[in-house]
């Protein structure tokens, strides 16, 4: 068994530098790599490009890197939860590439799966398709979208083993599996790291081949953005 385990987040992020492109899993604040983000703030890498569906909130998630002005460019589908993001974007400090959510996911998956590009109907006839090749298939128009290229993918799983196999919980899965193996180095942080052989191979969501480094995360906050409940009758 190839051992992917590293001791901590510092070791896991070795080689991270300014001006790199990172993928970060998560939807809203659900399933974000909290430990990796904290370490990116700590390393104070500058002018980075982040591929992430959302940009966190003002004081958590990728919002922490935004506050610190570490991000040069964001590639996201929805950024409505972050005032600082909107301010930096409207003032021109921050470069932003808004991408339809399904296209964002597929650009990750294409990178993972070795496809250079793919056609999608999403965004045809809108400003998202401007300057891109379009083509008709069976009477419908499609836009050619290239796969992403990234230096590091930071993902967060519920459980993982030392071989890098991952299992996710609930909708914290989201973009995380699609980003594994989609960058040069994939770093997985997990709530529970177990020895290889502990997890049932039938239940693995992401095979370890897509993960280069795995570590036991700590101090997860797992913030809830919109706490909606039904009152007890």
């Amino acid at each position: 068994m190839i051992n992917k385990k590293v001791e901590n987040v510092v070791e896991a992020l070795q080689g991270v530098q300014s001006k790199m492109t990172f993928m970060l899993g998560g939807f809203g604040l659900c399933g974000i790599p909290e430990n990796a983000i904290a370490e990116l703030v700590n390393l104070n890498v500058r002018e980075v490009t982040c591929i992430s569906n959302n940009a966190g909130v003002d004081d958590f998630g990728l919002g922490l890197l935004l506050q610190n002005k570490q991000i040069k460019k964001m590639i996201s589908s929805y950024v409505g939860e972050n005032d600082e993001f909107e301010r930096q974007m409207l003032s021109g400090e921050l470069e932003v590439e808004l991408t339809p959510q399904g296209t964002l996911a597929e650009k990750c998956r294409a990178a993972q799966a070795g496809f250079p590009a793919f056609y999608t109907p999403a965004g045809y006839g809108t400003e998202v398709a401007e300057g891109k090749e379009t083509r008709e298939f069976n009477g419908k128009m499609y836009v050619l979208e290239p796969a992403f290229k990234a230096d590091f993918a930071f993902v967060k799983a519920w459980k993982g083993d030392t071989a890098g196999n991952l299992i996710f919980k609930g909708t914290a899965r989201n973009f995380n599996p699609n980003m594994c193996g989609a960058a040069t180095i994939t770093v997985a942080e997990v709530e529970e790291l177990v020895p290889a052989g502990t997890l049932d191979p039938n239940q693995i969501h992401v095979p370890g081949i897509f993960v280069q480094r795995i570590f036991q995360g700590k101090n997860y906050e797992k913030r809830i953005e919109q706490r909606t409940v039904t009152s007890k009758a």
Binding site: C30, N53, Y78, E86, G125, P177, K232
Partner: protein, 218 residues
């Protein structure tokens, strides 16, 4: 009387059909889940990766790892499933979801929709809306007929950046149910007590009124 947001949702719920998978957008569309007609089975898809979405959890049982596309804590019903984002949009792009309900800032008579950006002012992003409207066969828009200034949002042509082209099939507003076809809005139903004249005045796009137009029934 113009419809409340709840009533718009209630009216849209009557469009649901047995065995349909349905994606509900944020806002009024989310409320549609409260009015599923009796005797039919539908499953709600949330594009962050959940099929068989249930109601909000009982207080004290909410889970940060179980949210919907509006980032609200939810539950998963028996028979539900959870999957990654690429799989979620395979369901949408592959037309395995029968109905999409979403909100809009503007709709045009050719079926164009704008709901993601006001240049220089508001940029929140399109989320999954562009994928949804480019792929779904049935797209119902839930919206107010006019904006706060009283200007029509039911237009000849959208003025805001588009989310999708020629895709909207039906619009349910606080005043009317409109079908979008042949480059016009066709008035199908009126809100109770709302006259055809009122709807005409609130509609900038071409409005076709064909014979008697019934009031909505609840």
């Amino acid at each position: 009387m113009a419809l409340s947001k709840q009533q718009i949702a209630q009216r849209i719920a009557k469009e649901l059909q047995d065995k349909w998978y349905v994606n509900l957008g944020i806002g009024i569309p989310t409320l549609v889940a409260n009015y599923i007609p009796e005797g039919i089975e539908v499953e709600f898809q949330s594009e962050n990766g959940l099929l068989g979405m249930g109601p909000f959890p009982l207080e004290g049982t909410e889970d940060a790892d179980l949210i919907n596309a509006g980032k609200q804590t939810v539950t998963v019903l028996d028979g539900g499933s959870i999957f990654d984002s690429a799989t979620s949009f395979a369901m949408i792009r592959g037309q395995h979801v029968q109905l999409t309900v979403l909100g809009a800032m503007e709709v045009a008579q050719n079926g164009d929709i704008a709901n993601w950006k006001i240049p220089g002012k508001m940029v929140k992003g399109m989320g999954g809306a562009m994928d949804l409207v480019a792929s779904a066969e049935n797209i119902i828009v839930a919206m107010m007929h006019t904006n706060n200034a009283g200007e029509s949002k039911i237009l000849k042509q959208c003025s805001l950046p588009l989310t999708g082209v020629g895709c909207v099939t039906k619009v349910v507003t606080n005043l009317a149910v409109l079908e979008v076809k042949n480059n016009a809005f066709h008035l199908l139903e009126r809100a109770p007590g709302v006259s055809i004249e009122e709807i005409k005045n609130a509609t900038e796009g071409t409005l076709i009124v064909d014979g008697e137009v019934n009031e909505m029934k609840f």
